[in-house]
């Protein structure tokens, strides 16, 4: 067998899987090659929290033994991947990206790690993240135990967060795919800023057992991959009910593109203003082109506006109040001051004093948000919006998630927060470049409509090659 060529680092899961089965290389050879690359380039992007080379090689030997006797376990068998460092891995440090938890070790794998292990996927490393997944609200990209996430497309730019290592490692071809988590944008934003395809599953579709809790009613775990198809393959493995996760919906995900409606049968809601006036001038041309590609698929387009709610205060109040309860010991012990971002520490301290009435008011308004989106999804099947209105900022700039230039026209502005509040699935697709940095669009659907979102995502990616582009610095 031969050493895998560089192309393999940017190949899809199906392509790598086919080569493994054809014995072009062994799982051990593939895993060694990915581990070498992750250890060599991971620190260059501050993407690596912990290499798991030894256990990965052991697992790869098991996979090779299985493949020798044709014991197949699906398309993820033998695929090296990375996991955000908020997912517990038995016997290994799980830092949650934060100094107060730097020595933390759990005695059980997170549920998603267990599932992927059974599927034959090979965990090669823990990936860097914003400390406590940004709980409380952080001000700078440097809010992490491993330093600011440096974007493979330009290391002076941020990766986005909080799944910063997952975004960078996937973009730079350091892992076959990565797991991230989202509470208020932590899968979609790094996916968009790093030029990879990211899927935020419906709330409750993927078990969070063994993952750091930031907000019980908002946290989701999902994949960052090279394509919509890859996201489907990972989601198919990790989705499923779990009685030990109180938020579990008790549902699985069956990837069945043959049962998805054709684009001609889909009504897609969008706001033209999102693609021009509300977008950064450097990104408008490619956003408009992407909109044209979506239209050319044959979907019916309908102009809509986002239901009018105070999304940022809603998300902020709910996330901060729940985070303050979850991290109350850290806050009251004073160890919260060990966080790298002092504003984040201050926000968590202040959050302890959020009145119960404010939290409950936010949760009651959230009920109305859900109802409003239920009604909106009677008119349209899914929504289309830029994932972020501008490309990645410089790492020295204060973090600004909205990033719209000047006053923001309504359009679908606020979908990132709204989608999280309503527990909706979303798929972020690379759609071009602005100033050399990736930009992306998002499809947002009804709860548990992932199969349909992925079908439209695949159709879009069959007409474009943005998801196949490689960062210039990843060599």
């Amino acid at each position: 067998m031969a050493t895998p060529s560089d192309d393999i680092f940017f190949s899809s899961i199906s392509e790598v899987s086919a080569k493994l089965r054809a014995k072009e290389f062994s799982a051990v050879e593939l895993t060694r090659a990915f581990c070498d690359r992750l250890e060599r380039l991971g620190p260059r992007y501050n993407a690596l929290a912990l290499s798991l080379r030894e256990q990965a090689i052991r697992k790869a030997r098991e996979v090779d033994d299985d493949l020798k006797i044709d014991r197949t376990r699906g398309p993820l068998q033998g695929i090296p991947y990375g996991a955000k460092d908020l997912l517990a891995v038995k016997g290994q440090p799980t830092t949650w990206g934060a100094k107060p938890y730097a020595g933390q070790v759990f005695d059980e794998d997170a549920r998603v790690i267990q599932i992927l292990d059974k599927a034959g996927a090979i965990l090669i490393g823990k990936l860097a993240m914003i400390e406590l997944a940004g709980g409380g609200g952080f001000r700078f990209a440097s809010a992490s135990l491993t330093g600011p996430g440096l974007n493979p497309w330009d290391r002076t730019r941020w990766t986005g967060g909080s799944s910063s290592g997952s975004g960078a490692a996937t973009a730079a071809g350091l892992v076959g795919f990565a797991l991230g988590s989202e509470t208020g944008g932590s899968i979609l934003l790094p996916s968009a800023m790093c030029g990879v395809t990211g899927l935020r599953p419906t709330y409750g579709l993927v078990s969070r057992r063994g993952a750091m809790a930031l907000s019980w009613t908002l946290d989701k775990i999902g994949p960052l991959c090279r394509s919509a198809e890859d996201c489907a393959l990972v989601l198919r493995a990790i989705a499923g009910g779990d009685r030990q996760d109180p938020g579990s919906a008790g549902k699985g995900f069956s990837y069945a593109p043959q049962f998805a409606r054709k684009p001609q049968g889909i009504t897609l809601g969008y706001a033209p203003v999102d693609f021009n006036e509300a977008a950064d001038p450097s990104a408008r041309a490619d956003f408009e082109t992407a909109l044209g590609v979506v239209k050319s698929l044959g979907v019916k387009m309908r102009e809509v506006e986002i239901p009018d709610f105070p999304y940022a205060p809603l998300l902020g109040t709910i996330m901060n109040a729940e985070a303050a309860s979850i991290f109350e010991d850290l806050i009251r012990s004073g160890r919260v001051d060990e966080l790298a971002d002092k504003r984040q520490a201050a926000n968590l301290k202040a959050a302890v004093e959020i009145p119960a009435t404010d939290y409950l008011r936010a949760m009651r308004i959230r009920t109305l948000v859900q109802e409003a989106f239920r009604k909106l999804f009677l008119e349209v099947d899914m929504l289309l919006t830029p994932t972020r209105s501008a490309p990645a900022p410089k790492i020295t700039e204060p973090v600004n998630f909205n990033a719209a230039p000047g006053p923001i026209p309504r359009g679908l502005n606020g979908m990132l927060q709204a989608g999280n509040l309503a527990g909706l699935p979303a798929l972020s697709l690379p759609c071009g470049f602005a100033g050399g940095m990736p930009i992306a669009i998002s499809l947002v659907g009804r709860p548990f409509s992932e199969n349909q979102l992925i079908a439209i995502g695949r159709a879009f990616q069959s007409q474009t090659d943005w998801h196949r582009r490689r960062p210039p610095t990843a060599s």
């Binding site: 105070p310 109040t317 504003r343 004093e353 009651r364 009920t367 859900q370 527990g423």
Partner: protein
């Protein structure tokens, strides 16, 4: 160097004044905490303005 009683008294007064000024000047930490409280207050005010029917219960289920 000889230190007169007068210059010693002046030094003490100066030190006390510096200490007092430092104690009064808000630290970056205080400023961060103040900003955090202000944001929480702003969120609270924005949520309070939103009309909310009395019968609306909190969202604790997130399924379709």
């Amino acid at each position: 160097m000889d230190v007169t009683r007068r210059s010693f008294a002046q030094m003490l007064a100066l030190t006390a004044a510096v200490d007092e000024a430092e104690a009064q000047a808000p630290s970056a930490e205080d400023e961060d905490l103040k900003a955090a409280h202000e944001q929480a207050r702003s969120y609270s005010q924005q949520l309070a303005k939103f009309p909310l029917p009395r019968a609306t219960e909190p969202a604790f289920r997130f399924e379709a």
